[in-house]
């Protein structure tokens, strides 16, 4: 009896000790995060990690049948999962490093990166350097890994554009001011990406720059004009290329343009086939080579089919939450440069998500962009996580600032010169 009691007592002690240790560590971690990151940053981090992890599951589900039946992927159903997890882990490490770094590195490194990426964008068009995959030259092979110059452009342009806009005393108020130099650089980059051809990425870059201009306080009428010009340019790009025109006409009238609408209709069909609750993860059928690009551009169709309305709306809301957190970080950023970077970064990720989801559900034409954080990707995935890392760094920088938060609330004096739009909005 005595021995037994002793054993029970001992076991309890061990358990308590264990609990103490675990609790202490978790608290420490939480305390650390709380201390470093304001709540919007914590939300952004959670949403990002959540979408990324969820993305791995969906990539497995969406790519399994393709990889299994294709010799190109060694008939290994886990092919895309293995590669995806590898790049995602690199991306998460990059994100955490970027979070710890001063966002200023973008200001310093941005122009250099932009220059390099523009050179690479030209290089990728040259046969022999650019890899020809699925009818486009978007990749440059560098040893075992492939790089998409269009991904580098995003970071380069993000840093450079923000630096230029932040250096100005006032927001650009005329087209000429916008055009020189940021507009010209954007049009040049977008034009080169379009040449690959990769309409989706050039639209994503344009949306990012649009977001930066918006946060920089560019007048609304000018933004409207730019938006109109962007739409016009996009339409021009569509109507001058046969397959894009066919896709666009298919979007307008799917029945009459079957060849152009295969991807769209298949994506839509299987998205709708999911119903309210979906077929269940793994039980979808569209990924069986009916929906092309099921694990990349059309992964949202697989999500819709396997998780139904419930799952797809939750994903949409997750991106909305991401956008809210991102713009909140932009609003509360410490300086103008960080503000514009945060605005552009959020616009890029949320905008790309909107373009992707909109195309899958058939409310905008298909342009071919991956669903950020979820779709399978290599350099694209790393760049996306890097950009989230920059957003977190800006947020963290602000959390570390000794000045009281909520400084933009009504009646308070403005210690730093935030953009007029945010001041107005906060009033």
């Amino acid at each position: 009896m005595v021995a037994n009691d002793a054993i029970v007592a001992r076991a309890e002690t061990v358990r308590e000790l264990h609990e103490d240790v675990t609790e202490a560590r978790v608290h420490q971690l939480l305390r650390g995060t709380r201390r470093d990151l304001p709540v919007e940053g914590q939300i952004l981090l959670l949403v990002t990690l959540g979408l990324t992890a969820f993305g791995q599951v969906m990539v497995f589900s969406a790519s399994g049948p393709l990889a299994l039946t294709s010799a190109q992927y060694h008939h290994d159903p886990l092919y895309f999962v293995k590669h995806g997890v590898f790049f995602t882990l690199i991306g998460v490490v990059v994100m955490l490093l970027a979070m710890r770094a001063q966002p200023r590195w973008l200001k310093v490194g941005g122009p250099g990166m932009l220059l390099v990426s523009l050179v690479l964008l030209v290089a990728v068009l040259i046969p022999g350097i650019g890899q020809y995959i699925n009818g486009a030259r978007r990749w440059i092979a560098a040893g075992p890994i492939s790089v998409q110059p269009s991904e580098l452009v995003k970071i380069g342009l993000l840093g450079t554009g923000a630096a230029i806009l932040a250096a100005r005393k006032t927001p650009p108020s005329t087209l000429r001011e916008i055009a020189r130099p940021i507009g010209i650089v954007t049009v040049l980059a977008c034009g080169l990406i379009l040449k690959e051809p990769d309409l989706g990425s050039s639209i994503a870059v344009a949306v990012m720059v649009f977001g930066m201009l918006f946060v920089a306080g560019t007048p609304m009428r000018l933004l409207a004009l730019l938006g109109g010009a962007g739409l016009g340019g996009g339409l021009l790009a569509i109507m001058t290329t046969a397959y894009r025109r066919e896709r666009f006409l298919a979007f307008l009238d799917p029945a009459a343009h079957r060849s152009g609408s295969w991807q769209t209709t298949q994506g839509l069909l299987h998205y709708a086939a999911g119903g309210i609750n979906g077929a269940g993860i793994g039980a979808g059928t569209g990924k069986n080579q009916f929906v092309p690009e099921a694990h990349t551009d059309m992964i949202f169709s697989v999500i819709g089919e396997e998780l139904g309305l419930v799952g797809s709306v939750l994903v949409i809301l997750a991106y909305a939450l991401f956008a809210w957190a991102g713009f909140t970080i932009a609003m509360r950023a410490r300086d103008r440069f960080s503000q514009i970077v945060a605005g552009g970064a959020t616009a890029l990720i949320a905008g790309q998500a909107a373009i992707n989801v909109g195309a899958v559900v058939g409310i905008i034409p298909l342009t071919g962009v991956p669903l950020p954080l979820i779709s399978y990707g290599s350099s694209g995935k790393i760049v996306m996580l890097l950009i989230v890392g920059v957003l977190l760094a800006i947020c963290r920088e602000q959390g570390l600032t000794p000045t009281p938060r909520r400084s933009t609330t009504r009646g308070r004096s403005q210690p730093r010169s935030g953009p007029a739009r945010f001041r107005r909005a906060a009033r």
Binding site: P65, T69, F214, L268, L269, H270, Y271, A272, A273, G274, G275, I276, T285, G286, N288, Q289, F290, G304, G308, L309, S312, V313, I316, A320, A323, A354, V357, G358, V361, G362, I363, A425
Partner: protein, 548 residues
């Protein structure tokens, strides 16, 4: 800007609700239509084998080569297909350039090895290769009996037609989820195909070969228009062999034969039975108790029945013959006297009153019911319409039409102790015996009396050339004038011999019919009897019946 974002969000969610809730059923049906595939699982057509399992008809693997037209380079594809499968390039080219759009067959049921060679070529991406079953007849024997199918495997003639349902089996169905390339991902439900039944025939290829050789050699020897031979198993009614000339070329396809060559003359042609029918007349008389084998009749050389003069084949003076002797010498006058004097009714129109029912009972005037298509019933005049002339010729086999098989089946009944057994070709389907009807037509004692009388025909009568060394043979000759331009011809004859052996314990009935010989004597005892002896001896040896 915030408002814009919210509008976008609301739009996307609203659209999701519209797609996944409101229009869900419609889209789900469309999606299912793409994924769910129902495939016919082809049932293999059953084989046809002889009594000892040797194959007569088999199903073989083949490959049907097709294409989706129009093609950009029909000439190149036509060249590759034509060269590999050794078919006409022009035919393939014409098919490839048809106005039809979609899938077409280029070569049905090609040799799978050649198709595999074609599949290894670059053009194969433009072609389809669909496995299909091909019907083959490895030996080319018994062609009119086995028959043929069309290219889709539906029986057109012979056993292929009469047993089409049993041979065909039941196709199965497989429902499965497919991917976009059409490959099955997961089966949903499978109804397996039930292959067609295997027909095992009573036919013995060794006897069939002997029959085919016999008709061919007899045709050469006699210069006949056609020769028919039947070998029946006395006990079972099974057809052991059945052949006729003109015969189809055994190395060519059924479709290349003329209708004349593949007609089953044993069941689809009718002849006057002639003297072979006298056995039926005497059997009727014996069964009715009107005569015994020893009953004596006064037989003049010719008699008048009403307005018709009936004479025996050989002129002779008036003599006294027993019933047995009447059969032995094949006396027409004797047969008529038996029927007219002992089997007629009293009234003037009642000549066939007692005889006609026996003719029907013995199976004349109705099909035997053999399991082959196209059997004739024969033509036996209704006895109420019999005139005086009718009773003057039917007793010796004139004025009625019978098929050779009806005659063979009647003699098989006599040989089998009076029990008629349904003639049939198929013995078993998938090992299960096909029942054959058995009918007692005569008492055993009367059958035995007939047996003895028929032995005399061979030992001392018209059928001496049918005798076989080592086997007792019983049988009957027959010689009939052919009807040419409405009257009996003096130059065109049909010679018969039908009999059974070994006479003491009969195993087989053999019938040989020589139609319109051009060389030598026209008597059945001279044209058909030697062929009978030859064929019967071979058949008995094939069955392992020992010589005495």
């Amino acid at each position: 800007m915030l408002a814009g974002c919210l509008v976008l969000l609301a739009t996307v969610i609203a659209r999701s609700v519209q797609l996944q809730v409101v229009a869900h059923a419609q889209y789900a049906a469309l999606a299912n239509g793409e994924h769910l595939e129902t495939l016919r699982l082809h049932a293999s057509r059953g084989a046809i084998v002889d009594a000892r399992g040797r194959p007569l008809a088999l199903a073989e693997e083949a490959t049907t080569v097709g294409a989706y037209v129009p093609l950009t380079d029909p000439a190149g594809v036509a060249r590759a297909v034509a060269d590999t499968l050794s078919v006409s390039r022009d035919v393939i080219y014409t098919r490839l350039t048809t106005a039809h759009r979609g899938h077409i067959d280029l070569v049905r049921q090609a040799d799978p090895a050649a198709a595999a060679r074609l599949q290894a070529l670059n053009v194969s991406t433009l072609l389809t290769f669909i496995p299909e079953e091909k019907r083959v007849y490895p030996l080319g024997m018994a062609m009119p009996i086995v028959g043929t199918t069309n290219i889709d495997g539906h029986g057109l003639a012979g056993l292929e037609r009469s047993y089409d349902r049993a041979l065909r089996g039941h196709d199965g169905l497989e429902r499965f989820t497919r991917n976009a390339t059409g490959a099955s991902i997961s089966p949903i439900a499978v109804t397996p195909a039930r292959d067609g039944g295997r027909l095992q025939l009573a036919l013995d290829l060794q006897i069939q070969a002997a029959a085919e050789r016999t008709v061919a050699s007899t045709q050469r020897r006699t210069g006949a228009r056609s020769v028919v031979a039947i070998v029946l198993d006395v006990r079972t009614g099974g057809v052991l062999g059945m052949a006729a000339t003109p015969a189809p070329n055994s190395s060519a396809a059924y479709g290349e034969a003329t209708p004349d060559e593949v007609r089953l003359r044993a069941i689809a042609d009718q002849y006057e039975p002639g003297s072979t029918f006298k056995t039926a007349t005497i059997a009727a008389g014996l069964d009715r108790g009107a005569i015994t084998p020893g009953t004596r009749f006064t037989i003049p050389g010719c008699i008048w029945i009403y307005n018709r003069k009936i004479c025996d084949a050989e002129r002779h003076g008036t003599e006294s013959l027993s019933v047995s002797q009447i059969l032995t010498v094949s006396s027409n006058v004797g047969a008529v006297k038996i029927a007219y004097e002992r089997l007629s009714g009293k009234g003037s129109g009642d000549h066939g009153k007692y005889f006609a029912p026996y003719i029907a009972r013995f199976g004349f005037g109705k099909p035997t019911g053999i399991d082959l298509p196209g059997e004739l019933r024969g033509s036996v005049p209704d006895y109420r319409t019999w005139s005086g002339t009718t009773i003057g010729n039917i007793p010796f086999g004139q004025g009625l039409g019978v098929t050779p098989l009806q005659v063979a089946a009647f003699y098989a009944m006599v040989a089998n102790g009076g029990v008629w057994t349904q003639p049939h070709v198929v013995d078993r389907i998938d090992g299960v015996p096909v029942p054959a009807a058995r009918i007692r037509m005569l008492p055993t004692a009367i059958a035995a009396e007939l047996n003895v009388m028929l032995r005399n025909v061979v030992s001392t009568g018209t059928g001496v050339k049918a005798a076989i060394r080592g086997y007792g043979v019983a049988g009957k000759t027959g010689t009939t004038q052919k009807v040419v331009n409405g009257t009996y011809s003096k130059s065109h004859y049909v010679g018969w011999f039908v009999g059974f052996a070994p006479a003491a314990a009969p195993r087989i009935v053999t019938l040989v019919l020589v139609d319109d010989n051009t060389k030598g004597s026209y008597y059945g005892g001279d044209t058909a009897a030697p062929a009978f002896a030859d064929l019967t001896a071979r058949a008995l040896q094939a069955l392992g019946v020992r010589r005495r």
